[in-house]
């Protein structure tokens, strides 16, 4: 029971932030959806905030290298939840055969960060709802709920604005800048799984073990490594995380390619 009251509180704080974002940015706001467990939870929280009819478009930044299960999941729940989906790709880079073979840093930057830049420009977006969490990476632990990116997408992490009491956020912006809003910042990995269980949310089947392997974090097929695991249900995933000391993103190549790579990617505008 106590767990559930805790989840209720996490949910309520996130819903409050989503509604604040919508009040402030209305149709200049989008949700980034990668179909992973976190951003799917974010979409669900938006459904809660707006009683089932999400007025905010949902953006999928498609690198074209995602698992096929991810695309299937996307197409199924776009219909099921009646979402307004915008798919965006960096066509220029793809035409020039951008892939991890040209270096992971370059690939992430071109197919994710640059693609995001293009869609922001196209729709003149002012704010993005992004499902990052503090416990994912020690760099992300230093984020604010409302976090400004400048024209070059840079994150000025040495001079972040004041946020108080989870009620007052920075909404200062200039033309060309955008705000990243992080409604799930205070959730941890295990909270997400407990919430998925409580709310009976669907998740991409890559998260569940087959032949003693499962993905703990999903993205592009070429840059994700499965972990050894026999967790083939949500309950067993929860149990596994509780007893594990392997980090969630340990299978994600871009996090550990080089020292401070995450910091560098993020300072260039990566999520």
């Amino acid at each position: 029971m106590s767990d559930y009251s805790y989840l209720d509180e996490l949910e309520s704080r996130s819903v409050y932030i989503i509604r604040e974002a919508y009040w402030k940015y209305k149709n200049k706001l989008v949700i980034l959806w990668s179909m992973g467990k976190d951003s799917t939870t974010l979409v669900h929280l938006a459904r809660k905030a707006f009683f089932g009819k999400v007025p905010i478009p949902v953006i999928h930044i498609d690198t074209t290298f995602k698992f096929k299960q991810i695309y299937e999941f996307r197409d199924k729940y776009v219909k099921c939840w009646k979402l307004n989906l915008i798919i965006t790709k960096n066509d220029m880079a793809l035409k020039k055969d951008m892939s991890p073979k040209k270096g992971r840093f370059n690939c992430c930057t071109a197919l994710k960060t640059e693609a995001l830049k293009q869609v922001i420009e196209k729709y003149r977006l002012r704010a993005l709802l992004v499902a990052i969490r503090r416990d994912e990476h020690s760099i992300r632990a230093k984020e604010r709920y409302f976090s400004l990116r400048d024209k070059e997408f840079k994150w000025d992490y040495q001079n972040q604005p004041l946020e108080m009491w989870s009620e007052y956020y920075n909404t200062k912006e200039e033309s060309g800048t955008h705000i990243r809003i992080h409604p799930l910042l205070h959730w941890s990995e295990i909270d997400i799984w407990r919430y998925i269980k409580k709310e009976k949310l669907p998740s991409v089947n890559l998260y569940f073990a087959k032949k003693r392997r499962r993905y703990r974090s999903i993205g592009c097929e070429c840059c994700c490594q499965p972990i050894e695991s026999s967790a083939n249900s949500i309950d067993r995933i929860i149990e596994e995380i509780q007893n594990s000391r392997v980090s969630e993103r340990s299978g994600r190549a871009q996090d550990k390619e080089k020292e401070y790579m995450m910091q560098k990617l993020r300072s260039l505008g990566y999520m």
Binding site: R13, F50, I139, K142, L162, E163, W165
Partner: protein, 403 residues
């Protein structure tokens, strides 16, 4: 009973705050092996020793200069299922803004002091902020006992000195604990080196700090009005108390009484809702409802344009300037019409009230808002008792509490 604690960890630069949290996380098994491997790797290149602080200080600049720049929050769960969220707040004076931000999320605080050092201005500032935010539950940790051979006399001497200091500035503390963050003494395990110490270890002291949620009066600041299925719904987060279908409520500052027709949640029928849920409320009359109004039950807050408050200046403040007053979802232009007194945050000495309101000053002021706002006296954690002031740039330039 709340089953988690938000703990601000404060102290001077070099007092070992980040090391303390890092070691605590490590000893409770809250750190992923990959992070430990990474730290081993980086530590070796930078200092040669395993640095627990790097678990929190993750920016290149932070590790190289051994200085925490930005607030970090770290999660920790103990075997008994208790959750601790450590908020590592920077100690450097230029970064006071980050300290304020981090501390505003805290239920309690740990103050880390190097057992061999004196109390620096920085610690005084930290304590003033904790006092300002009304965070009363403070644990003092005297760190680096390993550097004084775990000597009891050194500990007692420092304890006495600091107790005196606390008394002078009018702040209470709950525990005094001698530790070595680097070696893990008295964090999770009782120290074998300090058998003379009969008190609690840090984890025992923290376990004794859980408390029930406070406040029971119903308060619901309207966040927005949505049109759902041709019906108007007032959405928001209940900040305290509970509400039932059919109950009579009052809308402030409209001063109107209405009945709750329906509580609205996604895919759920509820007849009762309580803090801190985010819900929708449909009243029997939805006319004239808008963001910034407060739905309340008995023990009504006051509605006024004139507010007496204590403010903490984040930036230099010009009393002539038009400001933006924000209290939860309420917003109004405002002006400071009277400055009764000003203190310096480090010395806590009074300044001349004619002086400018400088960065990091605390002042007792009277604020005049353009439109009536609903507020009540600050009692620790009640949202209607606290506010922020923004300047033209919509940057927060002061935080305040209602007195």
């Amino acid at each position: 009973m709340q089953d988690y604690l938000n703990i601000a960890v404060t102290g001077d630069v070099d007092s070992g705050k980040s090391t303390l949290i890092g070691r605590f996380l490590y000893d409770t098994g809250s750190i992923a092996d990959a992070a430990i491997e990474e730290i081993k790797d980086v530590s070796q290149r930078i200092t040669g020793d395993f640095e627990f602080a790097y678990l929190l200080d993750s920016f290149e600049e932070e590790r190289k200069s051994k200085l925490t720049i930005e607030t970090t929050q770290a999660f920790c769960k103990t075997k008994k299922g208790k959750r601790f969220i450590f908020i590592d707040v920077p100690g450097h004076q230029e970064l006071l803004k980050n300290m304020l931000c981090g501390s505003s999320y805290a239920d309690m605080a740990i103050l880390v002091i190097d057992v061999q050092s004196t109390i620096e201005e920085q610690t005084k500032r930290h304590l003033s902020i904790l006092k300002f935010l009304d965070i009363e539950n403070i644990i003092v940790v005297l760190n680096k006992m390993d550097l004084v051979n775990f000597n009891e006399d050194v500990f007692r001497h420092t304890e006495e000195r600091i107790a005196e200091f606390f008394k002078n500035i009018g702040i209470r503390y709950k525990y005094f604990i001698p530790v070595s963050a680097r070696q893990g003494d008295n964090l999770i395990k009782k120290s074998k080196e300090m058998i003379w110490y009969k008190g609690l270890s840090l984890i025992e002291a923290l376990n004794g700090s859980f408390k029930g949620l406070n406040s029971d009066v119903f308060r619901f600041p309207i966040q927005d009005i949505y049109n759902i299925d041709k019906e108007k719904v007032a959405v928001g987060k209940i900040i305290s108390g509970k509400i039932r279908k059919g109950e009579r409520i009052k809308i402030l500052p409209l001063n109107r009484v209405n009945k709750v027709k329906r509580l609205k949640l996604f895919n759920q029928n509820k007849f009762i809702a309580k803090a801190p849920m985010s819900i929708g409320i449909v009243l029997d009359d939805m006319d004239g409802l808008k963001r910034g109004q407060i739905i309340c039950k008995t023990k009504l807050p006051s509605v006024s344009r004139e507010i007496s408050a204590k403010i903490f200046c984040v930036n230099k403040l010009n009393p002539e300037e038009e400001l933006r007053f924000r209290c939860v979802t309420q917003e109004s232009s405002a002006q400071i019409i009277n400055v009764n007194s000003i203190w310096d945050i480090a010395t806590l000495e009074k300044k001349n009230s004619q002086d400018i309101l400088d960065k990091t000053n605390i002042a007792e002021v009277v604020i005049l808002t353009d439109i009536p706002v609903t507020t009540e006296k600050y009692k620790g954690f009640n949202s209607l008792g606290r506010f922020v002031l923004q300047n033209n740039d919509s940057e927060i330039c002061a935080v305040g509490i209602i007195i």
